[in-house]
């Protein structure tokens, strides 16, 4: 099962290495990891998705809590939180199929951010399901490169 873990940390030297090292050292299997600043410049938010059962999630959260630079941890399942991922992908689209690709992009409200004679770069944002559906449709055209941010999430509650 996939769990989203949102970790508020001190924006200090080595904090990402501590967290990444804990995951690898204790054998947790993570899918994505995202780090970025928060409204408070002294703090950062690390969002990660963990593949594992509830027991793994429980251990993972407790081990994170042991790290001194970790201030707060939230875990989300289902619709408790809004989760989004941004993907940039380069599709081998030329004049013959460019229109078709553009059409798929319109349906998914994704953006074409660069076009050249034989490729285009698409920016797509969405939750896991939307991204998955989009990729299934676009892959037949030939995805040559891809960059993903990994999930970021915020709780719906205030």
């Amino acid at each position: 099962m996939k769990h989203v873990i949102s970790v508020l940390v001190e924006n200090k030297f080595g904090v990402l290495a501590r967290i990444a090292g804990m995951f690898s050292g204790r054998g947790f299997n993570i899918d994505t990891l995202n780090v970025g600043p928060t409204v408070d410049p002294s703090r950062s938010r690390i969002t990660t998705t963990l593949n594992g059962d509830d027991k793994a999630l429980e251990q993972c959260v407790k081990q994170l809590h042991k790290l001194i630079d970790v201030i707060d941890i939230k875990t989300y399942v289902g619709t408790e939180a809004v989760g989004r991922e941004l993907i940039l992908l380069k599709v081998a689209a030329n004049s013959e199929n460019r229109i078709e690709v553009t059409h798929i992009c319109d349906i998914f409200r994704s953006k074409i951010v660069n076009v050249s004679a034989d490729s285009m770069i698409i920016e797509v944002t969405g939750n896991e399901n939307k991204v998955k559906a989009f990729l299934e449709l676009i892959e037949p055209f030939g995805v040559t490169e891809m960059a993903r941010t990994g999930t970021v999430a915020l709780s719906r509650r205030s």
Partner: protein, 573 residues
């Protein structure tokens, strides 16, 4: 003042009395400042690892953070084992290392290593000091983190330019604030504790399983009170040796792979297992799914990540263990707690105790077990014992009876050979009033033999009972039992001319001569009739002393639960 002076003043403000420090290019500035300190004794080990284990011994003997120091690069890497060791056994250690000038960091400069990065998996916390102004705050935090909650090692890596920076430090005595660290001790609620009491009232075969947390939490008195009030049998881990007097009728002494049959079987058959300050290590549980199968498990621990980590706890309680045990006794009195009737249970455990004591056969040759028993008697059980790792470590725990906390000091989680003698030096610095004896094996002792020089020159009266069997005894034992006695590089003397009680001339190396080179008094005994006299001479000598006892390598540590087996499959012969 400069950064180095500021560091030393910060250490003084933390009440540091001794620092175990080996200098080098990137830390000599710190040593210059240490020469100016009137409060801190700086002890020079002969290898950084020795210094690390001295600090470790100091910390275990006192409960205060031990401090060790090394230069950058190889000096620092020599401390990694000590840090990992302290992390495993939850020992407060403050490790200070010099680092190259900041301008050289990342440039593969001479004696540069990324020590911060290298130690991340084995520290409670760590700092790379980038500004000299941060030093007072960092030192204060480091000691606080090392000593509170679940103790552990903290690394402070200090670039040379920070040591040399001139500035006016601000020493704060305001309340500590760390957003990610709880300053209050976690405490069990009365509701939780009342529930525990109810479970005890109903139990037929309850056991208290305690560990090192009782020592670091300073909770042995609360443990005794609660154990007597509830009538529960008490067993503990090797980390918990000394938390409960083995002569107490409720004591099952220590359990685990080589522990008492009574302790192992009691836990195995228990219907209520109350774990306080222990962590269900694999040497305790054996095969996890067969561990205490019928038991309802209550787990008190200050570190919630230990709950459900190795063994599922039906009732996990995050708490300071001293508070929980103390409050349990209070609540028991307040609520009219009824002691469960454990007559049958006590009869069973008493029978196991009687039927399966730690035992060995007295043969032709003097054995390690006999030597330890004699040491126990001659020192009246009053010495603080350190050990290396292996058979002698187990025998020390079996035949020297430990009745007080902080008297058995051993590398238990990490199992580091070479721990014993430097640890003894550190303990003796902390407890000059006590007899401190390293019970060691020839393999382990040789790993940090250079610390004889520290003991001699610094006049630190640490003794060593060296049980020399010319082999790596514990591995030999496994070879005998599981590998058809094929010796996979476990012989420490000439394999074609084995040294031993029947071939004294072939004993290698000559530890007496080694000691002579170091200027340390030493004596070898190999016969039963010489043993007591040798021990007495060691105890009466008011300087470092090594008593070498030549013993056969054929002895096995028993009882033994083979790896991956359950307590029921314990071997007693």
């Amino acid at each position: 003042m400069n950064g180095a002076d500021c560091l030393v003043q910060s250490l003084e403000r933390e009440g540091v009395e001794a620092v175990f420090a080996y200098p080098g290019g990137a830390s000599m500035e710190l040593h210059q400042s240490l020469t100016r300190s009137k409060k801190i004794r700086t002890i020079l080990p002969r290898q950084e690892q020795g210094g690390g284990f001295m600090a470790h011994g100091y910390a275990r003997a006192t409960g205060k953070a031990g401090v060790c120091m090394a230069t950058s690069g190889p000096g620092a890497t020599n401390l990694v084992t000590c840090i990992a060791d302290a992390y495993m056994d939850s020992i407060p250690l403050v490790v200070i290392t010099g680092q190259v000038y900041q301008q050289f960091i990342g440039k593969s400069a001479f004696q540069e290593t990324d020590f911060f990065g290298m130690t991340l998996p084995v520290v409670k916390h760590s700092y790379l000091v980038l500004e000299a102004e941060d030093l007072p705050g960092i030192v204060r935090e480091a000691f606080y983190l090392a000593e509170t909650g679940r103790p552990g090692p903290v690394v402070i890596d200090i670039p040379k330019d920070v040591q040399q920076a001139l500035f006016k430090p601000v020493f704060s005595s305001e309340e500590m604030r760390m957003a990610g660290y709880k300053l209050d001790k976690p405490k069990a609620t009365d509701e939780e504790l009342k529930e525990v009491l109810k479970l005890i009232e109903k139990a037929k075969k309850p056991v208290l399983y305690t560990g090192g947390g009782i020592i670091s939490g300073n909770a042995h008195e609360e443990l005794l009170t609660f154990a007597e009030l509830s009538g529960l049998p008490v067993t503990h881990t090797l980390m918990g040796l000394g938390v409960f007097d083995p002569a107490h009728p409720q004591s099952l002494y220590w359990y685990g792979m080589h522990g008492t049959v009574a302790g192992n079987w009691a836990v195995c058959e228990s219907d209520l297992l109350i774990c306080a300050g222990a962590r269900f290590d694999d040497r305790i549980t054996g095969k996890v799914d067969q561990f205490a199968q019928e038991a309802y498990v209550i787990h008190f621990d200050v570190d919630q990540s230990e709950h459900n980590k190795n063994v599922f706890a039906n009732f996990p309680i995050q708490t300071d263990v001293k508070y929980a045990l103390g409050r349990l006794s209070e609540l028991a009195k307040e609520t009219g707690f009824k002691k469960p009737n454990l007559k049958e249970w006590h009869a069973s455990t008493a029978k196991w105790k009687q039927d399966y004591p730690f035992t060995y056969t007295k043969g032709k040759h003097l054995t390690a077990q006999e030597a330890i028993e004699a040491l126990y008697e001659e020192s009246e059980g009053e010495a603080i014992i350190t050990t290396g790792v292996g058979q002698h470590q187990m025998w020390a725990a079996q035949y020297y009876k430990f009745k007080e906390p902080r008297t058995y000091i051993s590398s238990l989680g990490l199992g580091t050979m070479g721990f014993g003698y430097p640890a003894a030096v550190g303990v003796k610095v902390a407890r000059p009033d006590k007899e401190v004896i390293d019970i060691d094996g020839d393999g382990s002792f040789l790993m940090n033999v250079q610390e004889l020089a520290t003991a001699k020159i610094e006049k630190i009266n640490a003794k060593c009972l060296l049980l020399n069997n010319q082999h790596l005894g514990m591995v030999v034992q496994w070879e005998d039992r599981f590998y058809k006695s094929v010796r996979g590089h476990t012989i420490l003397c000439d394999p074609d001319n084995l040294g031993g009680p029947d071939n004294l001339d072939a004993v290698y190396p000559d530890f007496i001569k080694i000691c002579e080179g170091f200027g340390v008094k030493a004596r070898r005994v190999s016969k039963r009739e010489e043993l007591r006299d040798g021990i007495r001479e060691m105890l009466e000598t008011d300087e470092p002393f090594l008593l070498e006892v030549i013993v056969p390598y054929t002895e096995h540590v028993l009882p033994m639960i083979p790896q991956g087996k359950s307590a029921k499959e314990i071997l007693t012969e």
